[in-house]
Amino acid sequence: MNKGITEKEKLEEIANRLRVKVVKMIGKSGFGHAGGSMSIAEILTVLYFYEMRIDPENPDWEDRDRFVLSKGHAAPVFYAVLSERGFIPEDILSSIHQVDSSLQCHPDMRLCPGVEISTGALGQGLSVAVGMALGARLKGKTFRVYALLGDGESQEGQVWEAAMSASKYKLDNLVAMIDYNKLELSGRISEVMPLEPLYDKWTSFGWHVIQINGHSFTQIMNALDEAKKVKEKPSLIIAHTVKGYGVSFMEDRVEWHAVSMSPQQVKDALKELRCSTEEIEVTLSEMKEG
């Protein structure tokens, strides 16, 4: 770490770079899930740069911690953090969504290093994470398993099947996180299909539940530290977030779920994300070429 830069400042810088990468990917490819990528930039930053025991040089290391992006459509920010952490080269990010790219619209474990399980159809990742956590115990391994779910995704019945099973098997090596940005594709969660009382639901399913501001590095780190101390129970972190966080015109707007971006929007977004004029110009010219 550079002298004079605090841990928190370093994480902030990384999360900002993830958002810049997301805007560039969506801008250049002409499509992408923006809102739900932006809302989890801090969470992924903490997982990949503070919490998880991983080795980009050895992505198949058997004792590594496992991460499951159950909300697979947030692939842009996932690819951004995998490149930032060194699992994939940065220069392939602009190939996202291309037919022969290893960066498919939803993460493919057979194509992209660092992806533990292919996801995309919602509701399935937590079950897979339960299998990993259960398997870790069977093999006598001490690694931990992290699953990140969408809030709308929690409307899928399979999530609650998985919740019951994690509780039955007392999987204290499992942490699930919900990106509670309050929006789903077609509208407000509270109107489409309310989740509340979410805290009570998960508590009654036998989970240790922690509620935090999902954009606060300190709160995310503290919650993950707390989860490590919980015994005989899986932990759930309800991360209250803002969909599209970090780019004012995307924030809390349902229409920024899956989008294409005009050059002007890319320019405005990158400006807000503190990119230099030169970096913005390069991106815009690459958009034209693409």
Binding site: I117, S127, E161
Partner: protein, 311 residues
């Protein structure tokens, strides 16, 4: 003829045998262990037995997660639930990532005790066959079931096993070894070829004897490897015997009949008659009542074959 053995019985016992040798074999059950006979595994290896309750979708996901750590999970339930209920979970979490998960559907086709239409699986072969990366196998008797379960445990990738409920006479020879993509000629003949799998093999063989009395020599093939099917053996039959009849415990849409039609229509077109459930749902009743209702008794098959040859 030796004692009859139910494929599910052979399945349950073979899992235990394999489990003794291989600590990576784990079994998942969606509350049907006494029926699917994974209860034997549960008794012997309780620590490697995962009871998920009546939650098949979660079962497939947990199996996928376990397989990423090198386990060889057998996810077991009735065939109707193992296919229809979890179709998307199998596609997304198993077939697409090509994970080493074995999905076992016991109680297959029309023959599910007296459970009736809701518990019958007339679509499972069609569903599983259409998933890329998936292998589909239906063993006929106790010995072939044992072989097929061994094969599944050694094969690296998704497998769907269709395991019958009711006792079957021994059909395959004592030295039989299952090979993926290979069918087995059970009876030679040159006038017509009857291709079947699973429980229908018994009635198909009887039908072949019945028509033999009328001077028709039928070749009978056990096509336990439903995907991939044995293209070479099918084409050879088409070349040597002309007409082909398929007999299946499944909807005639998407199952064995369709698989054979796909091969001959591309490679060596001959006339085909598909015997099976003709795009309707089932009923509750005994196996005999089912066979009568849906025209699957040996005498029904024999009649169909004769009139097909005359047509």
């Amino acid at each position: 003829m030796s004692e009859k053995i139910a494929p599910r019985e052979a399945f349950g016992k073979t899992l235990v045998e394999l489990g003794e040798k291989n600590p990576d074999i784990v079994v998942l059950d969606a509350d049907l262990a006494p029926s699917t006979k994974v209860s034997y595994f549960k008794e012997r290896f309780p620590e490697r037995f995962v009871a998920v309750g009546i939650a098949e979708q979660n079962m497939i996901g947990i199996a996928a997660g376990l397989s990423t750590l090198g386990f060889i999970p057998f996810a077991t339930t009735f065939a109707c639930f193992a296919s229809r209920r979890v179709c998307d979970q199998v596609m997304i979490s198993v077939a697409y990532p090509r994970l080493n998960v074995k999905i076992v559907g016991a109680y297959v086709g029309l023959f599910v005790g007296k459970n009736g239409a809701t518990h019958q699986s007339l679509e499972d072969i069609a569903i599983m066959r259409s998933l890329a990366n998936m292998v589909v196998i239906e063993p006929v008797d106790g010995l072939e079931t044992k072989e097929v379960v061994r094969f599944a445990s050694e094969y690296d990738g998704p497998v769907y096993l269709r395991i019958g409920r009711d006792p079957m006479p021994s059909i395959v020879p004592p030295d039989y070894r299952f090979q993926l993509g290979k069918g087995l000629v059970l009876k030679e003949g040159s006038d017509v070829t009857l291709i079947s799998s699973g429980i229908m093999i018994e009635d198909t063989l009887k039908a072949a004897s019945l028509i033999e009395k009328r001077g028709i020599q039928a070749r009978v093939i056990n096509m336990s490897s439903l995907k991939p099917v044995d293209e070479g053996l099918i084409v050879k039959a088409a070349e040597e015997t002309g007409k082909i009849v398929t007999v299946e415990n499944h909807n005639i849409i998407g199952g064995l009949g369709s698989a054979v039609a796909e091969v001959i229509s591309e490679k060596f077109p001959v006339k085909l008659k598909r015997i099976g459930v003709r795009d309707v749902f089932g009923k509750s009743g005994t196996n005999e009542e089912m066979k009568k209702k849906f025209g699957l008794r040996s005498e029904d098959i024999a009649e169909e074959v004769v009139s097909f040859l005359e047509s």
